[in-house]
Structures are given as C-alpha cells and as structure tokens.
C-alpha cells in the first residue's frame, strides 16, 4: 500500500528522485494517532523530535495553536488538546 501510494506521488508530484520519506516512529502513547493523522500531512513528524525535549506544556500548546491559527491546520479543539497533551508528555520538558 505504502509503496503504491509513493509511486503515485512520484509520478504526479514530479519531485526529483528523492528516497521515500522515512517514517518517523514517535513514542507510543495516548494521542499518537491524532498527532500522526493531523500533523503528518503538511510536514515530517521529525519536527517534533527535533524540537525536543525543551518545550513546556504551554510551549507545545503554543506550537499547536500556531499550526492552526498561522498555518491553517484544520484541527478541531478536541484533537488539538490531545495533540498538545501528547507532545507535552512525550516530547516536553
């Protein structure tokens, strides 16, 4: 499934011949599904690991809010809270 979709991507997107995007395996914990489903469409999930582990819960909440308000991510309030909680617990300080 994954290979097929990436083959379609390669054909349609006409990106230069880049290797398949490596899947980032974030920590297994409640909320991970929300993170993968909401965040991974626009950017690699490695942005989360890269920005760790120094953000406070308020800091991660501000990042999620920025993604919604500034970048237009279509994330509802419940998912936003689940994502911010997951990030603070697993990638926060």
């Amino acid at each position: 499934m994954r290979k097929i979709v990436f083959a379609i991507m390669a054909a349609l997107v006409a990106l230069p011949a880049m290797a398949d995007e490596p899947t980032i395996r974030l920590k297994q914990a409640p909320g991970l599904g929300k993170v993968e489903g909401n965040c991974g469409g626009c950017h690699s999930l490695v942005y989360i690991e890269m920005n760790s582990p120094f953000l406070t819960a308020a800091g991660w909440n501000a990042e999620v809010t920025k993604m919604i308000k500034a970048y237009g991510a279509p994330i509802g309030d419940a998912d936003a809270k689940a994502i911010a909680d997951y990030l603070a617990k697993n990638y926060g300080t």
Binding site: M9, A14, T23, I24, E36, G37, G40, G41, G59
Partner: protein, 407 residues
Amino acid sequence: MLTRRSVLGAAGAVLTLTGSGWSRFSASRAAGAPVTPGVPSGTAESATLEALPGKKPLIRLAYRPPNYEAPLDYFRSPITPNDQFFVRYHLSDIPDVDAKTYKIEVGGDGANGQATLTFDDLKKLPAYEVVAVNQCSGNRRGLSTPHVAGVEWGYGAMGCARWKGVRLKDVLDKVGLKPEAVEIAFNGADGPAFDKTPDFIKSLPVWKAVDESTLIAYEMNGAPLPHFNGYPARLIVPGWTGTYWMKHLISVTALTKPQGGFWMNPAYRIPVGMFPVVARFVSQENATSTPITEIVVNSLITSHADGATVQAGTVTASGLAWDGGYGIATVEASTDGGKTWSEATLGEDLGRYAFRPWSFAFAARRGKNTVTVKATNKIGQTQTATLLFNPAGYHNNVMQTVTLNAA
C-alpha cells in the same frame, strides 16, 4: 484526479496506516550526524547525514519540507560548492521547474505597467556577478539558550557562492516604478501542502530592491542553480539574511502598501533596538518588532571541531568571517579565554559580501587549549560575548570557543 497538494496531504494518512513499516532511525545513524554542539538533544538524536539528489551528504534536520545544513568541514573554503550548499524550505510543495516554460511576472499597483520575462529574456539582460553569503535568518537557532521552537539549525545553514544574473533594478525598469511604491514583493514556485497555509511571500523596501547588488541569479558558481537552491532563478539579496532570497522566483510585484501576511509579520521579526543593525525596513516596523534585515558580523572556526585532538606545538586554526556587507576589518583570536587577543591573518578578499577566510597560529600546550575568535567589521561592529536572546533565535553571533586537546 489527485492534485499535487492532495497527494502530499495523503502522505500523513499513509504514515498513519503504515507506521510500523519502516525501522526507526538507528542510534548509530543518529550518532553519525555531525551536529553542532549545543543543539537540542532531540535534534542530535533525530538528525542524519543524507544526500539529496545532486547533493553531497548534508545534515538532514527535516525531510518534508526539506531542511538540510552543511557540516562544519564543508566550510574550509570561502566558496561553498553547489553540492555542499544548505537547503531550506518553508513549504512542502516544491515543483520541478522547467526553464523552457519558466517565467517571471512583473507588475503590481506600484508599477507603471507589467511584463512577463522568460528565462531567455533574463539571459538577454546585462549580466552581473556578486560573491555573497546566503545565511538563513535562523542559523544557530539550535544554540539558543533557552532553546526556542523552529528548525534547530547549528552552524551550517549558510553558504557563500558566486552568483550571476541580472539586476533586479533592470527588471523593474522594464515596468517602471511609481513614486509611491514602497516595497517590492516576491513569490516563488513552491507552495504549501495544504491550501489554507499561507504561501511564502516576502518583500523588500524599494531602496534595497534597486540596490545594484540585488540580483535575480540564474548561475551559482558557474553552473545552473541546483534544484534545491532555487532553479532556474532566485533572488540574491547580498548582506541580508536568506529569508529574502526567494527561490524559484516567479513574481516581482511593486506595492504602494506594505506586504502583509504571516511571513512578514509575525514571522522573521526581531525586537526593536536589540541588535546593532544599520539597514532598516521602515515600512514594516512597529513599536515592538521589525523585520530581520542584514546579517550581523560573525565568524566560525572551521579547521577544528570542538574537542578535537591536536599535536602539541604550533597549531593553525582557521575559519571564516562575514557580515552584512560592510566588510571584515579584523579577526582576532584568544587562547586565554578572552583576556588577551591577537590578530589573525586574513585570507583572500572575494568582496564585501563574501566569506573572508582567516588563520591563526598558536603554540598548543599539552592538555586542554581553547581558541576563541571574534570578527570586527569596517564600521566597528563586533561579536557578542553572550547571547542576545530573542524568541525566534535570530542573529546569534556569540563568539565561538573550541577546546583542543593537545597530546
């Protein structure tokens, strides 16, 4: 029909479905990425060395959008080869642009007319060259204390190339500017993965746009621009940070009102009065923040990584110094933690916007030795001893110290 954007949007869902299909970055790979000491531990653990098409291995901070920085040992000459030049994108939809169909739309309410330039049209205009440093505004963000969110760059989100192209002024002369034009705005062919995300659009004050050194470049170090550095043509804004150097340039728009949008405000802002910058972007200033403009004076030891082992006796440290275009006056080095300073020897001068090489020989004693460097430019600006903290982690020009262990 799937569009590029919907396909990219689907990638996240794919990752969700097949999350176990790919092994996690192994620790050994992570440990192999020569990240700058001081970046967040999560950055050090997740970064890998990886070669993009047409590039030598760079430190991959993120794959999508691609953000890759150069390791320290790529900075041992004042010109950065094209295949070693860093890669920085804000948005994930990065098309392959065909020079045959490429065009730049020139116009706007601050222009007297409009024009469309093809790649051939650009090539027919008078060509100029400039050697200039392109440094990401966020270079060294990863060294901020406390750490701040963003792409956690170490030392390597910069490079210096010989750029060849046409003067932006000559392109603007094709349409003519109205007296009330205040800014020139730029867009590139790349765009967001999701259509609600603001496109990356930047502007310059007219005075900087019409500076004779501001170019639309189609050559980099004598070759076409690499895809990942803005093929087929990009803006070159010598002295100013990389945010203004629009890649895959497709529009040049003269404005009678300041450019709005996320990428002008709140992004790419510095606190008013914090940094000793001369170049101002007055039409975008407000009471508390102002756009980042020129590069602050800086230097880097590139001959030795921090903690390197050397032989006791004469050791030559070398590296680069650069600034926003005033020119490097001196580079000084200290081996006693900054109590006393000696002048380093400056190398080849490739122009006021270029990396300036320097070298400094000293007697290394057995055990620990430290070397601290600071550059001063021709208007007397120098590097700071301590970080001027700002929320976006910009303008870090803290003097660098390396420890060398002499055996």
